[in-house]
């Protein structure tokens, strides 16, 4: 009896076998193209921001306009309140205190409390493979800066990095093996806490092609997101005095 396998298949059967092979080969080529495209994106560190902007479906001028109108309304109201207080005299100190508190809160000099998210960035613990840029496995200052920037963009009202509040003069910088935030040194993991509308912040973080997506392409373990019902952020603790900059006295008015 003939072995059914060891005989020459001609015509249809042979073409079918080769065709299946061709289908798989085509798929493999496409997969290789896809993987290499992905390897490229992380190397272009500025590309991601452009991608994020292009992918962002929420560029919404109408809501910005409405927000501005609200702001004008609020300023007019506070203006008239101030005028009222000034006329009454004894209420003026109360008003001033309120304004001071507002300014302090905006500058991050008070404690802040509210719902938000926590973003945890970690160095990759995956073994290093060839064709793999080791730099990508490490959390850099620019990753932290971009996450913070993205959070502000998504409407965060207060942010802290590993417990250090982000103030008006906060800087983030890579020095040697650690990340400096306002001259405090942090190594991985880095916890970024933000107060704001949690769903919006979360959505901004998981945006396809966004900041975190880029980091996660290297290793999904490098990023962790958590929605927090109530954060309590400590105040900015860095120096607040100005030596060079002064407030102009607008006597000309």
């Amino acid at each position: 009896m003939k072995n059914p396998f060891v005989q020459q298949k001609s015509g249809g059967a042979a073409v079918a076998v080769i065709s299946i092979g061709a289908l798989i080969a085509g798929f493999l080529v496409a997969a290789a193209v896809g993987v290499n495209e992905k390897a490229d994106t992380r190397l272009r560190s500025l590309g991601g921001e452009t991608v994020t902007m292009l992918n962002d479906p929420t560029i919404d001028i109408a809501s910005k306009y409405e927000q501005a109108l609200d702001e004008i309304e609020k300023l007019r109201k506070s203006n008239s309140e101030m005028a009222d207080a000034a006329s009454k005299g004894d209420e003026i100190s109360l008003q001033l205190n309120e304004r001071l508190q507002e300014a302090l809160q905006f500058a991050g000099l008070t404690e802040a409390e509210g719902p938000g998210i926590t973003v945890t960035l970690r160095d990759s613990v995956e073994p290093v493979d060839p064709g793999f840029v080791i730099d990508n496995a490490i959390i850099h200052d620019q990753d932290v800066i971009r996450v913070v920037n993205e959070l502000w963009n998504a409407g965060a009202e207060a942010i802290s990095i590993n417990g250090g509040r982000v103030g008006p003069r906060t800087y983030v910088r890579c020095v040697g093996s650690v990340v400096h935030v306002d001259s405090r040194r942090f190594a991985s993991p880095i916890y970024i806490r933000a107060i704001g509308e949690p769903q919006t912040l979360y959505g901004a973080m998981v945006l396809p092609g966004g900041v975190l997506a880029e980091i996660q392409e290297t290793d999904s373990q490098m990023v962790e997101l958590e929605i927090v019902e109530k954060h309590r952020l400590s105040p900015y603790s860095g120096p607040t005095s100005s030596i060079i900059a002064t407030v102009p006295q607008e006597d000309e008015e």
Binding site: F5, V6, Q7, Q8, K9, S10, G11, A13, A14, V15, V17, I18, S19, I20, G21, A22, L23, I24, A25, G26, F27, L28, V29, A30, A31, A32, V33, G34, V35, N36, K38, A39, R42, E126, D129, P130, G131, F132, N136, E217, T218, D219
Partner: protein
């Protein structure tokens, strides 16, 4: 006949592009060598088919073993800190070009044969007509 594998190669590519299999970036060299091994097998199989030496078990085992060997060698290369991906790629591309050349030659000779045959057939037909 030869167009069916080519069409399916393109279909496979389109499927891959549409569904975007989510591989880690570290797999990039393995994906590349797997793609080359697949192409090499398909072109080799086509050549054998045209040569009337096509055995499916040779083809299937060739696909599987070449793929595993290439990926295994690549992995071994990373172990001993040598880039064997390039070595495998060179061999595959060399074979690819050789087999492509063979396929082209076989197809051309076939085309020439078929033209010759049709001419003689028509000559026969015309002779039969004149006899009647």
């Amino acid at each position: 006949m030869i167009l069916i594998p080519i069409a399916l190669l393109i279909v496979g590519f389109l499927i891959g592009i549409t569904f975007r299999p989510d591989f880690p970036v570290a797999w990039a060299p393995y994906a590349g060598i797997a793609a080359l091994a697949g192409l090499d097998s398909v072109v080799g199989g086509t050549r054998a088919l045209l040569d009337k030496r096509f055995y499916p078990e040779v083809f299937v085992s060739g696909v599987l073993i070449n793929l595993t060997l290439a990926i295994g060698l690549g992995a071994f290369g990373t172990l001993i800190n040598l880039n064997l991906f390039v070595a495998a790629a060179v061999v595959f591309v060399w074979r690819l070009i050789q087999n492509m050349g063979q396929v082209r030659r076989l197809l051309l000779s076939r085309y020439r044969e078929s033209r010759g045959r049709t001419r003689s057939e028509t000559e026969l037909e015309s002779k039969e007509l004149s006899n009647n």
